[in-house]
């Protein structure tokens, strides 16, 4: 009509684009015109409170995600085992030439560990300063040592990265005769039940002309380090830094160990790529080097053990010494730290913030109602004025 349409001046050209109006029709979020909205003071206060609350909760969620989760998992150890590395650092109160170190195990082998370990002469008084304790310390000491604290994988990874060498033996001061022997090093035994022992010459293994005078026996010892698997001196094991003394000459120290292979890792996915048929890297440097894949520095393969002790004097026809009998458990423990993925963190943040907003909105509504309710009540009780009351005081 009016000829407008002939010149292209109709609603289609002036009104909204059809596509845009189609999209607009989908808008499910109602926005009211600003003139119909009312902003209140309490609303503003609530908004600030809600923003603070959601920021704080988002912060805690981020912190939780950052720390990750530590999972402990048991599984049966895979691969065919061969060797087990034993790392030893012990000081015995007898001269070096009087001591023999050997391992006998269930496969019938005897390992002349004395050939692979270093024996350094030293004096007894030079040891024992670094807070050594007897095995089976009192409960307070164990709590202080953090026995019941949750393990942090990063502590172990950090400890594993430190130096992997044995400390140098302190020099014997001039004028003093060495009366003790420090035996240290890593030896490779078979990965079977075994028994390694430090005995005196002539007492234990049959040798001619090697008898040692009974008065020079003294099997008191400091164990600085006893661990299994690859050598990480900073990792603490139950027998590390222990001291055992005796006054009796013929004394037998017996330690019974149960070794559990353990893996600490922050990269659980990389562990799945491990070859199942090679020797486990927890068994020592042989196993660690044998693997075709290089391990990331995020994984520490080691062994933990539990120890009990039975020590007593023995009559003179028995063999005295320090005996460590160990057995290996088939079940391995994996302690892994895992972090949830970024998408799930994002979803959790979204959930938290929306929850806060919704809950806050409802609380605000309820508080408004409560205020309204109270206000209506008050208006009803002291109503004097024209229509609703309240004008009496103002008139005249």
């Amino acid at each position: 009509m009016n000829g407008f349409a002939d010149h292209g001046l109709d609603n289609d050209n002036f009104g909204e684009n059809k596509a845009v109006s189609a999209v607009k029709a989908f808008d499910a979020f109602p926005k009211t015109k600003p003139s119909y909205q009312q902003q209140t003071n309490t609303g503003g206060v609530w908004t600030v409170v809600l923003i603070c609350a959601s920021l704080w909760l988002a912060g805690t969620e981020l912190q939780r995600w950052w720390h990750g989760q530590t999972t402990h998992e048991f599984s049966v150890e895979q691969g065919v085992g061969h060797d087990l590395q034993i790392n030893l650092d012990v000081v015995i109160a007898m001269k070096c030439e009087d001591l023999h170190v050997n391992v006998q195990d269930a496969s019938g082998d005897r390992i002349l560990a004395g050939q692979t370990l270093h024996k350094d002469p030293t004096t007894w008084t030079q040891w024992g300063s670094r807070g050594q304790h007897a095995l089976g310390a009192k409960k307070e000491e164990r709590l202080e040592a953090g026995e019941y604290q949750e393990e942090d994988v990063h502590d172990y990874l950090g400890a594993a990265r430190k130096s992997k060498k044995y400390h140098k033996t302190p020099k014997v001061s001039r004028g003093r005769e060495p009366d003790s022997c420090r035996i240290y090093g890593s030896m490779h035994g078979n990965k079977v039940q075994g028994d390694f022992h430090i005995t005196a010459r002539g007492h234990g293994y049959m040798e001619f002309g090697q008898h040692l005078d009974h008065n020079s026996f003294n099997f008191s010892h400091h164990i600085n380090e006893l661990s299994f698997g690859p050598f990480y001196p900073s990792l603490i094991n139950p027998l590390d830094n222990t001291l055992a003394t005796t006054d009796a000459r013929f004394y037998k120290f017996q330690y019974y160990l149960s070794v559990v292979p353990t893996i600490y890792t922050t990269d659980a996915k990389a562990l799945r790529k491990i070859d199942k048929f090679h020797e486990s890297p927890s068994s020592g440097s042989d196993g660690l080097e044998q693997h075709p894949h290089r391990y990331s520095k995020n994984t520490v393969f080691t062994n933990q053990y539990a120890v009990t002790e039975q020590s007593h004097p023995v009559p003179e026809n028995n063999v005295p010494g320090v005996f460590v009998k160990f057995d290996i458990e088939p079940i391995q423990l994996t302690i892994a730290e895992e972090w949830s993925s970024l998408p799930s963190l994002f979803i959790r943040l979204v959930n938290v913030i929306s929850g806060v907003l919704v809950a806050g909105g409802w609380l605000f509504q309820i508080s408004e109602w409560a205020k309204d309710f109270r206000g209506r009540r008050r208006r009803r009780t002291d109503s004097v004025g024209v229509l609703h009351g309240g004008m009496a005081g103002k008139k005249g």
């Binding site: 845009v20 999209v23 607009k24 029709a25 989908f26 808008d27 499910a28 979020f29 109602p30 926005k31 009211t32 015109k33 600003p34 119909y36 998992e73 048991f74 599984s75 049966v76 150890e77 691969g79 065919v80 085992g81 061969h82 060797d83 269930a106 496969s107 019938g108 082998d109 005897r110 390992i111 002349l112 560990a113 050939q115 030896m187 490779h188 078979n190 990965k191 079977v192 039940q193 893996i263 659980a268 562990l271 799945r272 491990i274 199942k276 048929f277 290996i328 458990e329 088939p330 079940i331 994996t334 979803i347 979204v350 959930n351 913030i353 929306s354 929850g355 907003l357 919704v358 509504q365």
Partner: protein, 436 residues
């Protein structure tokens, strides 16, 4: 306006009247995007709900007096079946008698000819093969040795095998059986010579007591007396021209207990830490070779009981209630409703020459091997007190699924509303800034 009923007064979900409502393009886009996102997340929740995961648990194994089945498939390319003996012993050194077994000896062609199968016979554990076609009154001579305890006819040695048993019982070596009437009748020495160059494969299963013990493959007939367990090694060590016997072997398969079905392995192996909590047997496909006759291979096996309980398994009965004799070999451990009781193991291998020596070849000269013993392959197994239970469970219950959906929908819509509001306000401010 409709009359205000009580419910209307309670309405907390305020709806904006159409006239007062503004619709924007950005709102539409945000709505559509959030709808797509909600659909995607709901689908993810549903997939999570349908997923079945396996929870491993570790408990102390409180079973008593159970049995354990050992299934094996091991081939010895350079020891003929005639010379090979399988013995099962327990921790005290006693040969386990009454072991239910279904083991076959398969004769293999010599290694040079490809090692194919010739024929398969059942293996008798500690017994002798039955004699055939003999006069009922016949009583064969035992040639100086006492008659074996399990002879067909007491006091007599009616077959070559019984004469061999009789000689083994007094630790006499038997040799090739010349001038022994029973063996010449059975053509024992001819068979022995023919089969010299052959190999042997042992396959099948045995059911033993679930205690610490060992089973071993060694040459010649064996005899146990108290703590002593000896084998007749003469034939093995002398060999024949051109052939020397050694205990090179290939373990094709060794498992303790029934196998998990394939689909279960896939499910258990899919998730899980490094290796899954149920692994492939470590000794499968192990091959060890040697050229020395007097060589001894030892495998130290630690066995851990493992149970697999499928979804919805309730303890209705126990497989231990059925006397084990009624369960056929290979079926022990298969419980009701698809539950399976089996065993995983970890193993250490060791080998040494019988003449002693050291481990210099492995780079460990300080390791002295013991001397003596019997050539052969020994498997010593030890039972762990721990038991692994792999239990299937749904990762989420149905109500958990609904809660997840509510969380997804609510969360997305709230955030989308906030985003939309922010965009709208922003646009308004920008417009105001432009117009002013």
């Amino acid at each position: 306006m409709p009359a205000k009923s009580r419910f209307t007064k309670l309405d907390a979900f305020t709806k904006t009247v159409e006239d007062a409502r503004i619709r924007t393009t950005s709102g539409g886009i945000v709505t559509l995007t959030s709808l797509l996102l909600i659909l995607y997340l709901v689908w993810g929740e549903y997939a999570d709900y349908r997923r079945i995961i396996v929870h491993p648990e570790l408990i102390v194994d409180k079973g008593r007096g159970e049995k354990m089945e050992i299934h094996m498939n091991i081939s010895f390319p350079r020891v003929p079946c005639e010379l090979l003996t399988l013995d099962v012993m327990d921790v005290s050194g006693e040969v386990q008698t009454g072991v239910m077994h279904g083991v076959n000896k398969v004769r293999l062609r010599p290694h040079g000819e490809g090692g194919g199968q010739i024929e398969s016979n059942a293996l008798e554990l500690g017994g002798s093969d039955a004699a055939v076609h003999l006069d009922p009154g016949y009583c064969g001579e035992c040639f100086g040795a006492p008659s074996p305890a399990n002879a067909i006819k007491a006091g007599c040695c009616n077959t070559c095998a019984e004469v061999r048993d009789a000689y083994a019982s007094v630790s006499w070596s038997f040799g090739r059986g010349e001038n022994v009437e029973q063996c010449e009748r059975e053509h024992y020495s001819e068979h022995l010579d023919e089969q010299r160059r052959e190999g042997c494969r042992i396959e099948g299963g045995i059911r033993v007591n679930k205690v610490v013990g060992n089973f071993h493959f060694a040459p010649g007939k064996s005899f146990s007396n108290g703590n002593m367990h000896v084998h007749d090694l003469e034939n093995y060590f002398t060999g024949a021209e051109g052939t020397e016997h050694t205990f090179s072997h290939t373990v094709h398969h060794l498992r303790f207990g029934p196998e998990l079905p394939d689909d279960v392995i896939k499910r258990v192996g899919a998730k899980g830490m490094q290796w899954s909590n149920h692994h492939l047997n470590p000794l499968d496909g192990t091959e060890q070779k040697t050229d020395e006759k007097a060589y001894n291979f030892m495998y130290f096996v630690k066995v851990v009981s493992t149970a697999y309980l499928p979804l919805g398994w309730e303890r209705t009965g126990s497989i231990l209630d059925i006397p084990h004799e009624l369960i056929e070999l290979g079926g022990y451990g298969k419980g009701e409703a698809g539950s399976i009781e089996t065993h995983q193991y970890s193993v250490t291998s060791h080998k040494r020459s019988l003449q002693g020596g050291d481990g210099g070849d492995d780079g460990h000269k300080e390791r002295l091997h013991a001397r003596g013993g019997i050539p052969g392959v020994f498997f010593s197994y030890d039972i762990s007190p721990m038991k692994v239970i792999n239990r299937e469970a749904r990762s989420k219950s149905f109500s958990g699924f609904l809660v997840g959906i509510c969380a997804v929908v609510g969360g997305t819509l709230t955030v989308a509303a906030a985003v939309d509001r922010a965009v709208y306000e922003g646009a308004q401010r920008v417009r105001k800034m432009h117009s002013s």
